[in-house]
């Protein structure tokens, strides 16, 4: 009985680990570096894969890296824990990766591990959220203020310089929420566009639905609301649903615009005629791989790369949107 137990235990543990080992890959150590047989190894630490936008970032990196057989990317998901992400960076160093891409959960706790890796001679590309100080190779991020400003200018044009706006904000304790608001205010400055209702929807569609309900109840007249500016596409979508359920046809008269433009969210909503426009908040995944390749070739790369945005509207969505420089 005892022996059986031991054998069973040993087997089970071995099986579990063997199953896990199935996903391990080994880099061969022969041949020159940067060839398909012996690729450059990139470690990518994503702060969490619970948000569709971050899943898209990994997908963008994967798609860009797939075109380069001389690259191999190891992905790690920090499950929204800074301490896990700290550990991942130091693991990458110990594993001897040739470059690290990190999209940090938070600046402060990740600053030191990134600095240690950078000072150990490993190039580090920081995506979307910054770390403190200057100890990294390159920061790539989109500009939320610019995106908000473009959204504002777009609405000024669309409504002929006059109208009432409902603003459904993202989490206003977060920088993207604050910047998307500040940019929008810059964009509508000087026009007769007025924000008549505003609420913090924390990026969540259910919250946006609730707030939009309140807005419609507060302004029941047919033309009291001309447009909804939502800080993300799901919120804009939620607002549309509520307007439609109201049954007064306001889903047709109000213009809904959103931000992020993920292929299966915002872009699809524009194609379906739900949103008038959405502005892409680029993940920088493809740019990160480009930058990594330049670093491997020994080229000098800029310390900061600010990504532009792309508008997807009814006119251009079938053509894949239009770049706004």
């Amino acid at each position: 009985m005892n022996r059986l137990r031991h054998i069973a235990a040993g087997l089970a543990v071995a099986l579990a680990l063997a199953a896990a080992a199935g996903c391990a890959k080994r880099a061969p150590t022969t041949a020159a570096k940067g060839t398909p047989g012996n690729p450059w190894v990139i470690g990518m630490s994503q702060c969490n894969l619970g948000e569709p936008w971050r899943v898209q970032m990994n997908a963008d990196i994967k798609a860009a890296a797939a075109k380069h057989p001389e690259l191999e990317v190891i992905y790690k998901d920090a499950q929204n824990q800074s301490t896990t992400q700290q550990a991942q960076v130091s693991e990458f160093v110990d594993q001897g990766v040739n470059l690290i891409i990190i999209s940090p959960k938070e600046a402060k706790p990740l600053t030191e591990p990134v600095r240690d890796a950078y000072r150990a001679g490993i190039p580090v590309i920081v995506l979307d959220r910054k770390v403190e100080g200057e100890d990294y190779t390159c920061f790539i991020g989109a500009d939320n203020v610019k995106i908000g400003r473009e959204a504002g200018k777009f609405l000024v044009n669309l409504l002929g310089g006059k109208g009432n706006i409902v603003e459904l904000e993202g989490l206003m304790t977060s920088t993207p929420g604050q910047e998307r608001h500040a940019g929008f205010m810059q964009g509508i400055k000087g026009s007769d566009l007025k924000i008549v209702f505003t609420a913090d929807c924390k990026w969540l569609e259910p919250d946006a639905q609730r707030e939009m309900n309140s807005a419609l109840a507060k302004f029941p007249q047919a033309d009291a609301v001309n447009a909804v500016y939502a800080h993300n596409d799901p919120s804009a979508h939620g607002a549309y649903i509520v307007a439609k359920l109201e049954g007064k046809g306001r889903d047709k008269t109000i213009k809904f615009i959103g931000i992020d433009a993920l292929p299966h969210e915002g872009v699809r909503y524009v194609k379906e005629g739900i949103l008038t426009a959405t502005f892409q908040y680029q993940t920088g995944g493809a740019e990160a791989i480009d930058t990594a390749l330049r670093i491997f070739k020994g080229e000098k790369v800029p310390k900061n790369i600010t990504l532009g945005t792309r508008i997807f509207s009814q006119d251009n969505v079938e053509r894949g949107g239009e770049v706004i420089e």
């Binding site: 009985m1 005892n2 022996r3 137990r5 031991h6 069973a8 235990a9 040993g10 089970a12 543990v13 071995a14 579990a16 680990l17 063997a18 199953a19 896990a20 080992a21 996903c23 391990a24 890959k25 080994r26 880099a27 150590t29 190894v41 894969l49 190891i74 992905y75 790690k76 998901d77 499950q79 800074s82 301490t83 700290q86 550990a87 991942q88 130091s90 693991e91 110990d94 594993q95 001897g96 938070e106 402060k108 706790p109 304790t173």
Partner: protein
């Protein structure tokens, strides 16, 4: 590794046959070995991990085997280990403490407030955090012992309330230097001290805190009257009461110690994150319980020990580190973790 009073786990299951000289030697050896099955599993996992570990292409070293990786495992699992050590005592009394993750978060937040917002000395700040942990643990204990609330419910209440308190005192934001009105504009020195190796670059104070907690609680459980009464209460509470043990007092003290451990884990968490995160420790109670169970302490109470929990924590740590080094996806990791817990529980059942 034989923790707690001798148990019958070495004997063939479901048999009341006393040990006789006729019993063959190999059975006795195996029976002896079976007491160490947790440790054997740990060694087995270590060996497998070394074999399948990725290799650093420039140095040719197996990454799992290098000293820094081993040190990092202890460092990174210290918070779970400290929580699990305290949890072990509660589980020995056939109780459970779901509040430890929230208490960790509250303690981390309070520490950051005391150090960064008020600029108090680390000794005062840590002392107050420990008091907070003791207080919450005592409240759980009182609910369980005095008001006969089921441990699951009593500590569920504390889990929710402590998380609420953490968000209340922090205003829902992470407490870090530089916010308006705060005493400090840069990191308190204590955070750096806690996470820098001592003794010629060998162990970090957080790791020492972890191993120290294990050691102290091991001594308490194994060599004190209080420790032995935990087994008596977990084995048969009524019998323990009738034989004159102060069951209520012991239970309150047990939950208080568990709360204290959670507070210490919170100090470790704030030091590692260099800020006070009111969301810290979310779902950590489940990992702590997993470590206790994997080690071999019975959730039915009365059987197990602190050293077993150290083994359980290390098993989780080794597997977690290995899967992370291999870049396994989260889905695979969760499945592996589930599998390990099931195996551990099944082995435990066979042993009873």
């Amino acid at each position: 590794m034989t923790s707690g009073p001798p148990t019958v786990s070495g004997q063939p299951s479901a048999s009341a046959i006393p040990e006789t000289p006729a019993r063959p030697l190999w059975r006795r050896v195996l029976a002896r070995l079976s007491e160490y099955r947790g440790l054997l599993a740990l060694i087995l996992i270590f060996i497998i991990a070394v074999i399948v570990s990725p290799v650093n292409p420039s140095t040719g070293q197996r990454v799992f085997l290098i000293l820094r990786t081993q040190r990092n495992i202890l460092f990174e699992y210290a918070e779970y280990g400290i929580l699990a050590a305290g949890m072990t005592l509660v589980v020995l009394t056939a109780g459970i403490d779901l509040s430890v993750g929230s208490v960790l978060g509250l303690s981390a937040t309070l520490l950051a407030i005391f150090l960064i917002q008020f600029g108090w000395s680390p000794v005062v700040a840590v002392g107050l955090c420990m008091l907070a942990g003791l207080a919450i643990g005592s409240m759980s204990g009182a609910l369980v012992a005095r008001f006969r609330v089921q441990p699951f419910v009593a500590t569920l209440v504390m889990m929710v309330a402590a998380r609420g308190a953490a968000k209340l005192v922090s205003g829902g934001v992470k407490v870090q230097p530089g916010l308006p009105g705060y005493a400090l504009t840069s990191d308190p020195a204590m955070f750096e001290t806690m996470t820098r190796p001592l003794f010629g670059g060998f162990l970090e104070p957080i790791t020492i805190l972890f191993l120290g907690t294990i050691l102290v609680l091991w001594v308490v459980v194994r060599y004190t009257r209080f420790g032995r009464s935990l087994y008596a209460i977990g084995g048969n509470e009524e019998a323990a009461r009738l034989s004159g043990l102060r069951v209520g007092y012991t239970k309150v003290a047990t939950y208080a110690i568990c709360g204290l451990c959670a507070a210490l884990a919170g100090v470790a968490n704030a030091s590692r994150q260099t800020l006070g995160d009111p969301e810290a420790g979310f779902t950590y109670e489940l990992d702590a319980i997993a470590a206790v169970v994997i080690g071999g302490t019975s959730l039915m109470g009365g059987k197990g020990g602190v050293m077993l929990t150290l083994v359980g924590t290390l098993i989780l740590g080794y597997i977690g580190k290995l899967l992370s080094l291999m870049g396994a996806e989260e889905a695979h990791r969760l499945l592996a973790k589930g599998l390990i817990i099931v195996i551990a529980v099944l082995i435990q059942r066979r042993g009873e």
